[in-house]
Symmetry: D2
Subunit: 145 residues, 4 copies
């Protein structure tokens, strides 16, 4: 179930569950954001950065999200969620996700923009270096060395 | 709980629930899309178009969604969700949502793009006239004469 | 949207949302527990005890839950959630919930058993007196004199 | 990710996700029912009975559910969900689930009672023979021969 880094991207899988589909047997669109966030959670776990989500000194809340839905995701579909780093600056990191069916067809593309904040004040901070280091370790960004 | 049309927009309310917040007591970002979709559901109910979501001949799946998250939505927050029509063409309708706290402060802005499809084939169709008529009846778009 | 105390019970309302129903247009059974928990949240808010859910010194996690599902809850249904106190002892409080449709028909009955724990250690503690006092204030239990 | 039959029980795994935990970093209790239902979905897929959830002639809605929560399920926990058949009669089937952490410790036990209904009328029907056959094929019940 855990994701893996693979040629400049990190991959994770998700199965569309009964409680996630709607009247038409199709995943409610909001579920796509959950599948992508799960891939991000596995990415953090793979870099030892899961404290960011669970009581650490800084956090990475979403400040923006967008999605294009190309084809329905149906109950039971085994999805491949591909995560790539689309941007990284002083304050934020942007992930691009591609959700594919087992046939490789794109079902949706998603972008998440996360900004670093202090865990207590929720004030913006400079993106901690350990994040870029973790992303480089997984070959998701070029080594900054 | 039902929303109401009000000076060119439709309003709905939502309370941030315990099961919707995360480790930091803040609504998981994906919930914002659910709050907005609930406003859309109330809009459909107010225009007698709820069959669109529940077994009718055509449907209005999301083809795009985006959100900017400005300030945290915390557990127990009573949110006002304002819905406006941002665009309407042959094939799709775009809603713009503004989520505000009780103080009136903007917490997030969201856009949903819906396209009309045939309920069986899921092939795109021209937006049925009854939708524009319903939106006009609630003064969300100008009467088409 | 906030609940109210009423003849020995506390009432709350919930609308079955599109993202909560399944392939058959019926609320996924797990949603019933969310509707009931929302009533509990409103109860805590009404007694000024919401800190229990949000960073206070003690917490009230669920240690047991059960439900009987009598009739389907369908998309758009406006449900009345009635909360009563079914039991109260040194360590735990049990709530009984009745979910009714607009016609008054029972859709489901639910029981939640909550035990008091220390917020840090998660070790069981004696139910803090302020909880019984809050329940008495809303006439959900007899005054303890 | 798919479950497997194993010495009289069927096993599935689930990871506690960020959007499923609450303010204390602990899975909202209602998520346990979702993890168990996912195991049931994999069971149906393994027996070729997934049509029961997706447009077939009969359905298996929940008529009862109960859970005992023993120990917190925390964000990132890799859970093993063990499914066993606790009862089977003319009208209903009861599954018993045990949720364990990676250490083998029991986090929760859950029971789901499903009754067979006609997909259109939602009236109770005799449990179709193909269900018992499927359960026997996975060695979850004795062969009825």
């Amino acid at each position: 179930m855990a994701g893996q880094a693979h040629r400049g991207r990190f991959e994770h899988s998700a199965t569309v569950r009964f409680h996630e589909v709607d009247r038409a047997g199709i995943a409610f669109f909001g579920r796509a954001f959950e599948y992508c966030h799960a891939a991000f959670e596995e990415l953090l776990a793979a870099t030892g950065l899961d404290h960011v989500l669970d009581g650490g000194a800084w956090r990475l809340p979403l400040v923006g999200a967008e999605a294009d839905f190309r084809r329905p995701m149906r109950m039971g579909d085994r999805l491949r969620v591909e995560l790539e780093v689309a941007g990284l600056d002083e304050r934020s990191v942007t992930f691009r996700f591609t959700l594919r069916g087992e046939d490789g067809d794109v079902r949706a593309t998603v972008r998440h923009v996360h900004a670093a904040v202090d865990a207590d004040s929720y004030e913006p901070i400079t993106l901690p270096r350990e994040l870029a280091e973790g992303l480089a370790r997984l070959s998701l960004i070029e080594d900054e060395g």
